[in-house]
Amino acid sequence: MLHLYRLLLLLYPSTYQREFTEEMIAVFRQAQHDCSSLGFMPRLEFSIREMAGLLAGAFRERTEVRTETLPGSAMRSLLFPRWMIVGMVLMLVAVLMAIETARVMAVQGMGASPTWGGLFPSLVLAILTLMSGLGLIGYAVLLWVRRLGRRPFE
């Protein structure tokens, strides 16, 4: 769990990491320690909340920085690497699946094995598809603008 937490912290901008990583890990360890005596569901809830919080936080930190009026070279240094975008999408899917698994287990009882239909409701799939589509369109527009020789962030 702590390893995954450290891994997700890498999604944050480097300045943020330098400032808060050590402190966030210390607080997370303390919270995890306090949570260790609780039952399965509270611990699962804690894990999902922490992972989702990190993903949302990393996304917010990255997008907030990108909207500022920085010079082009500084802006490019803050952009997500492509592997990180793929990683974030995969982690988001994993978190959504974990939430659905917990929901299905809570409804069907702890012994039941959740089905794929229950794990991935059509609404979540539709939202994910829509967001991925919008992301791809945005990326294509940026590529097109760049090929025209314009640099929108400069």
Binding site: F20, M24, A26, F28, A31, R49, E50, G53, G57
Partner: protein
């Protein structure tokens, strides 16, 4: 709620999480990602400041309100009080 948590005394990150949970009777449980996102924005605005303790590492850094933060918290509190007063007035008028 983070500002309110720091209004009384300086607190460390985990202490803020527990205090917010207590203040909201368990309804608000901050994750570390959410907390430190909020702390960073408050630091950027100059509403809070870290207290560097000589003997402690960064893992135990505490934060406290600045005078600007306290002023803004009071403004927010006044705004909420006005809103509450207005809500009470309208609800009581609705009953009459």
């Amino acid at each position: 709620m983070v500002l309110l948590s720091l209004a009384e005394e300086p607190r460390h990150g985990y202490s803020i999480i527990k205090d917010v949970e207590q203040m909201s009777s368990g309804r608000v449980r901050l994750s570390t990602g959410t907390l430190y996102g909020a702390l960073q924005r408050l630091l950027d605005r100059g509403w809070i400041e870290p207290i560097e303790e000589e003997e402690s590492s960064r893992g135990r850094r505490a934060y406290r309100l600045t005078s600007t933060g306290r002023r803004n918290l009071k403004l927010e509190f006044t705004r909420m009080k006005d809103l509450t007063r207005l809500a009470e007035l309208r609800i009581s008028r609705g009953r009459a």
